[in-house]
Every structure is written in structure tokens, then in C-alpha cells.
Assembly symmetry: C2
């Protein structure tokens, strides 16, 4: 049995956007992958930091005081408690990995129609 | 100021093998990068799981009962307490990212000439 995880292969298993899948756990952290396009929801996480890695495309990580461009092969850490809102360039899709606590909620304390409460494991 | 982390750029800053650099922290976890070639040391970590991501080349993760081949763009989780020994194909270099607890020691309880006690931040 192989425990090797192929990220591209995992991402090829779904096409819906803003609906993360869990591909691994490391202690009390999880690795989730998602396809995103457009703008998400402003929120923060008191539960812990969140690290985003861009597998494909470009992620624009909006903070209240600036926007950071995260390109393919780059990553960014969003500290706990800091408001942020991921988005992409118009009409473009971006594939991301997120590394965060298992207890971290999709949109923090914000309840939104985009909020997903459970991440399927793939 | 940008907090974006470019993994290739970080890896271009050093050439010594088996000497990890810390490029980020996420809560009580760290992200380290390393260039490896040849065989490491058999060890395990009671402190927590360890996740390896292959940025370039091929990682052969040896366990006592099998060897897993982890190719570019793939990752593998080594559970806490499980003996393992990373190696590469003969004469080839592999570039890896490792996600693990800040408290996790390079070679666990094993003291070896390859053991590094501090990871410089880059």
C-alpha cells in the first residue's frame, strides 16, 4: 500500500470551486486543497494560523491594508486573528493547498452561503 | 512589505545538503526546506507527524517494511513514532519541504554526525 499523495491527482478529482477537500492530516493540522475563482468572504480565524500554497494560477490575498499576490510555487501565512479575503484575477481559476488546524472553520465566525462545514476526504 | 514566500527562491540561497532552513512557521509547526542526496539516518520522532513534499527530484522514503517513492509534486506523511530513513537515487539531488512541529529534532533521539540542532531562518 502506498501512502504517497499526488496533489495534481487529488485536484483532478473535483471541479467545484470554494469547496475544499482534505488530503492529509499532520498532528492536529489538516492539508486541504481547493479550486477557487472570483472573491471569497472576509473572515479571520481565532483557532490558528493558515498557510496557503499556490499549486496553479495566482492567488490575490486581500488584507484590510494591502493585497498580496501569491504566484504558482509561492506561499503565504495568514496569522491567527487577521482578517483576510482570498480572490483571483477576473475569470481565472487558482488551485491552492491550505495548511491549518483541523478545528479551523472555513469562514471563521462568519456564516455565509459560501461556507462549507465539512471537508470531504479524498 | 510582502510576506509571500517563494520556495524556489529560498532553495536557491544555499547548496549544502541535509542542512534544513526554516522558511515559515504555522502555529507550533515549522516549514523547512532542504537539499538532500544519498542516504540519511534511521530515526523516528515522538514529538509528532512529519509531512514531506517533493519540490524537485525523487525522494525514496524508507520504512522498516517498505520503501515509498515520492516524486515531484507528491507528498507523504510519516506518522509520529514510525522509523524512517529518507534517501535519494544514487547521485541525484532532491529538494524537499518538511512540515513538522517546531520541537521536532532533526534525527529524533539519534545523535549522528549528520544531525543539525538549529535550522537557520531564511
Amino acid at each position: 500500500m502506498s501512502n504517497t499523495i499526488n496533489i495534481s491527482s487529488k485536484l483532478s478529482q473535483f471541479s467545484d470551486q470554494w469547496c475544499p477537500r482534505r488530503i492529509a492530516t499532520v498532528d492536529d493540522m489538516q492539508v486541504i486543497v481547493a479550486k477557487i475563482s472570483g472573491e471569497f468572504v472576509w473572515h479571520s480565524h481565532d483557532t490558528g494560523d493558515e498557510m496557503f500554497f499556490v499549486q496553479k494560477g495566482t492567488l490575490l490575498m486581500q488584507f484590510r491594508d494591502r493585497t498580496e499576490t501569491v504566484s504558482e510555487g509561492e506561499m503565504i501565512v495568514v496569522p491567527a486573528g487577521v482578517e483576510h479575503c482570498p480572490k483571483t484575477n477576473d475569470g481565472q481559476e487558482c488551485h491552492i493547498l491550505v495548511f491549518e488546524k483541523l478545528a479551523t472553520k472555513h469562514t471563521g465566525d462568519v456564516d455565509h452561503e459560501m461556507t462549507v462545514s465539512e471537508y470531504p476526504e479524498i
